[in-house]
């Protein structure tokens, strides 16, 4: 398992993606799965950067763990910000017309749709969001 610890700031997004992409490329991840995983990382990390630490600066740790046989990956996002389970948000209504659809609310929905498993726990003062994807 490899990990990266960064400031919970969107300016760190490219560093987090480079870190994960290097591992995904070593694992032989397909282009499609890598894009889906990158999107999931972006949506989750940006959420942490925007909402976890409303009053101060904080950090996030991202753990990347290849699965058995290297054809899957598990990625865990950990922060010590306010307890927040993004999976509880109601899914957006994707049948509405363009005029009726709100701008936003799609990020976590895309994560849920494209990953094989998504789970959340709050433990020992930490938010832990875990995604798993086979490729």
């Amino acid at each position: 398992m490899k990990q990266i610890k960064v400031k919970a700031d969107t300016a760190e997004l490219d560093n987090v993606l480079s870190f994960a992409d290097t591992i995904l490329e070593e694992l032989g991840c397909s282009v499609k799965a890598q894009m889906q995983i990158d999107i999931a990382i972006e949506e989750i990390f940006v959420n942490i950067a925007h909402y976890a630490y409303p009053e101060a600066e904080g950090e996030a740790v991202i753990y990347v763990e290849p699965g058995d046989g290297s054809s899957s990956v598990t990625i865990t996002f950990e922060d010590e910000g306010i307890p927040y389970d993004p999976l509880k948000n109601e899914d957006p209504d994707i049948t509405l017309s363009a005029d009726d659809r709100p701008i936003g609310g799609l990020g976590i929905f895309m994560v849920k749709k494209s990953m094989d498993e998504v789970s959340y726990e709050y433990k020992d003062g930490k938010n832990r969001l875990t995604i798993k994807k086979s490729f």
């Binding site: 969107t10 894009m35 972006e42 949506e43 940006v46 994707i94 701008i103 936003g104 990020g107 895309m110």
Partner: protein, 99 residues
């Protein structure tokens, strides 16, 4: 990294996007569109060289669609299979005109 190329011809505006439309780059596109859409009635996006789109990028496309619904048409062309799948999963295939 996102390259934005704008070709304006009368009330037609074609925008070629190259690279990644994400949290970091979406504000650049949003700012350019705010300046450029004024009298446009025919907006075209060429996504042939767009490698990646996240919800931040989708937000900008939806905002553009809302504007163009009031003043003309918006068409998206040449999206890759991966980008098209994002449009499918999010229901954008139904609200955008994709050719």
């Amino acid at each position: 990294m996102l390259n934005i190329t704008k070709n304006a011809n009368g009330n037609t505006l074609k925008i070629i996007l190259e690279g990644r439309l994400d949290t970091t780059t979406a504000p650049q596109l949003e700012a350019q569109l705010q300046d450029a859409l004024g009298s446009v009635t025919d907006l075209k996006f060429d996504l042939e060289k767009l490698e990646y789109i996240s919800s931040a990028g989708l937000r900008v496309l939806l905002a553009s669609q809302k504007i163009m619904n009031k003043q003309g048409t918006m068409v998206i062309s040449n999206a890759s299979a991966e980008v098209k799948e994002i449009f499918d999963v999010t229901g954008f295939s139904d609200i955008l005109t994709i050719e």
